[in-house]
Symmetry: C2
Amino acid sequence: MGADERGYGIVKPQDYEFGEAGRGVRLDNGQEFGPITVRYETYGTLNDARSNAILVVHAFSGDAHVTGIHHPSDKHEGWWSGMVGPGKAFDTDKYFIICSNVLGGCQGSTGPGSIDPETRKPYGLTFPVITIHDMVEVQRKLLEQLGISSLLCVTGGSMGGMQALDWAVSYPDFVRSAIVLASTARLSAQGIAFNAVGRNAIMSDPAWNEGNYYDGSPPGRGLATARMIGHITYLSDESMRVKFGRRLRKREAYGYDFADLFEIESYLNYQGDKFVERFDANSYIYLSKAMDYFDLGDRYGGLKEALARTKAKFLLVSFTSDWLFPTYQSKEIVYGLMKSDKDVSFTEISCPYGHDSFLLETERQGEIVSSFLDTVNGK
Amino acid sequence: MGADERGYGIVKPQDYEFGEAGRGVRLDNGQEFGPITVRYETYGTLNDARSNAILVVHAFSGDAHVTGIHHPSDKHEGWWSGMVGPGKAFDTDKYFIICSNVLGGCQGSTGPGSIDPETRKPYGLTFPVITIHDMVEVQRKLLEQLGISSLLCVTGGSMGGMQALDWAVSYPDFVRSAIVLASTARLSAQGIAFNAVGRNAIMSDPAWNEGNYYDGSPPGRGLATARMIGHITYLSDESMRVKFGRRLRKREAYGYDFADLFEIESYLNYQGDKFVERFDANSYIYLSKAMDYFDLGDRYGGLKEALARTKAKFLLVSFTSDWLFPTYQSKEIVYGLMKSDKDVSFTEISCPYGHDSFLLETERQGEIVSSFLDTVNGK
């Protein structure tokens, strides 16, 4: 294993708990919400000047486990292990990396599946409807707790990119740079449409039961359907053609019966079922709704006005085959920043993997990120 | 109302019934299937030479009702009234137009919701798994019955284009020209993926009951979800942005509750519910499976070999914003025909309406079709 292929090693998830009923963070809906648990992981070492902290914010179905393993028996590293680790683009030998599970999530942080201390039952649909900005507010509380008052960088792809943008606009003096990958300043009508159909699939499952299923069976069929829809939007026409084509599963020729399954069907079924094991259906509903609401310019009277507030150095990256968050959406942010004379770099990477490219294409993306961080770090 | 805006007037659907149990058409699965009812409509007059017949073949959710109205009280004309009628591109003053509901459908032709004469119950999943070619075989029986042994043209968009292609390849001496709109020589992996998720949504609805729901409530929630997915793929990112954007339904500002519906969500809900009133869930399953199977070159050892059989003059049309059956898929057919020195015209129309463009963009498409038919008709 070469130096660049070193894994991060074993990492231990931690929980930060704060607030109490009616005290915690002020949400966009006006409610003061608590208590809140934040599941997070850190990698590398915070330097004495506390100037090398990078906040990684995860995408829709991600979690706090960015890189490394939890147990020696773990077969897979965290979701961005190609980008984060010793000698990697986000070099844990240089930087102190923090990632937390988002508010509303289901991987350790408080979400609709958490116990409401007032009723001693899971929140379900009594959980407040949250926004991308609410997630950022919770992350800020965590950084306060960790004694961090300045970020070298905040970075994320997709829904993570939304959070990174919100960070740069909401807390200009906190954020020295932002790396926004495969993301957008506002979710498109098409994006809202796919989210809405996913929620509809979950809510159509009788097991969903208006969100009250925690003492019985979860709405697995509905959640699997939602995930299958999502998964198609994360890939591309080309990547599916190359990877699956029109090959049948376990058959050479058509049988003209419903046992005829194409490889792509079988793959989606597998992805749907696997997702049900690790994700909460109500979190799907809440997090997708938060994405729908996201419109960076909304609270500042326009995108230009919002971006004018920022003091960070920006890097935006889009991918040619990403049709869910296409390049024109990244360019809109780039143009908005340029109009306000902000320091912004942009690149479109030619890559066939669709929206998932930010997770999969680590080589060129890694080089670009690494160089960008060097310039921010003053090298 | 100008000459070009004349409607077709009142048309009466007709039924052609043929075959009996075990006798009808030989299906691709090897089974001889009957009896079969074909619901069809005709427009215009067959000339004495029987040389002006045009077969229109409908897309996935279409039916035999192409143009005109059934009753004086009908508010809407048939699904292609912009293209078919007196003075229109498919000019009913010149041509005799025939359209039938496909085998497996639910708008009058025999499908999984029809009564199996042997059991006196609806077929449900005992209905044979059919193909695009099987649909064509049934259409051929209808044309025989109508005394038509040569088609001036066979035309259709999307799944209709698949049938038109199969006609030209299967019956070279029958088809003088073929107009193939927004279609493909084989369904892509992405197309199969969307169909698979739609079927999964239907089959996940407990009301589906393995296809046995005809004496109770149909799987409306599942079918609506399937339709919503389909509907997104028929539109485009741009058309959704222009038509719906991020506007909320009946609200000016976010309420941060689940009553916040974006216009696009409300539209998809409406489309899903409306579809359930007119479409059978099992037909959705069978027809989508037939599309999945479609691979024009399959039975001839390759696409080039299949296209080499044709004797028709071809017109292929694709649309810039169609991402479900993108232009490269039409071009593949064009190149295949050119390699065999066939007579083929091709145009890509710049149009924002996505895959649905072949239904909505009647002006330029109409001019192109009209000119093409004139050349076929020897003018």
